[in-house]
């Protein structure tokens, strides 16, 4: 496996879609290639940092306002029907 091959398997690697053989090939490659090791680690961190931090917080006030507005619109449609 070379660096380009590794890159093409990267998403499947994180999504656990690779065969054991391919995973082993990736491990072997990254053991000897520092650049790919960094790309693998930091791409993993990229995914994790977005998963772990809610960047658009929905405050209870906003949620309540949204919820009331949604239900009011739907009930208005129901009444018309």
């Amino acid at each position: 496996m070379n660096c380009t091959d590794l890159l093409s398997h990267l998403s499947d690697y994180f999504d656990d879609q690779l065969t054991i053989e391919l995973r082993e090939e990736i491990s072997e490659h990254t053991a000897g290639c520092q650049h790919c090791r960094v790309v693998l680690n930091t791409t993993h961190q990229t995914i994790e940092v977005y998963k772990g931090n809610e960047i658009y917080e929905v405050s209870p006030g906003l949620r309540e306002r949204l919820h009331s507005a949604i239900m009011a619109k739907c009930l208005a449609v129901k009444k018309q029907a």
Binding site: L7, S8, L10, S11, D12, F14, D15, Q34, H35, V38, V39, N41, T42, T43, Q45, T46, I47, V49, Y50, K51, G52, N53, E54, I55, Y56, V58, L62, R63, R65, L66, H67, A69, I70, M71, K73, C74, L75, V77, K78
Partner: protein, 208 residues
Amino acid sequence: MPAIQSPATEEVHPDVALVARAKEGDTAAFEQLVRQYERQIFRVAQHITQNREDAEDITQDAFLKAYEKLEQFQGNSKFSTWLVRIAVNESLMRLRKRKTSKTVSMDEDVQTDEGSIPRDFAEWRPNPEQQYNQAELAEILRKTIQGLPPGFRTVFTLRDVENLSTEETAEALGLSVPAVKSRLLRARLQLRERLSRYFRQKQEGQPA
């Protein structure tokens, strides 16, 4: 009670019963679905449009549309995927209206390879969470994802932020599975490259 079961799924999702009740006119059942998904739909809309007011409008419109078209929902996909699809379409429409000069479409193949070939090879040390407080980190993550083309941003949001499967993401976006995979890889790599500017380990002698 009639069980509406999609032939593709073996286990019946709890939403199926709620949708069936909602179709029969049970408003409380529909309201429960709203409660379950309103935050997710809002987040998806805000990620795509990057605008809070738009996201509020889109969330309301998406649920209203779902309510009006509930009869057309056949249960071939999950209710939540169907709902996300409505919200994505509303969001992209909103973006198109805003940017009159630029086409915004999920079909648009973003040809640029910018950021798809890794250039930054520094480890992130210490961890992003150790380098920045929560508010600073959220700001960096917001700014960074804003810079992605909408097509990439949307795929990343559904797949990695909202945890939809690749197949569900494809369904919600009207894309093929290979197209989702290709966009997702490029989105992840571009985000990694951009985040490296903030999180990369500082070289010795370089001011932090």
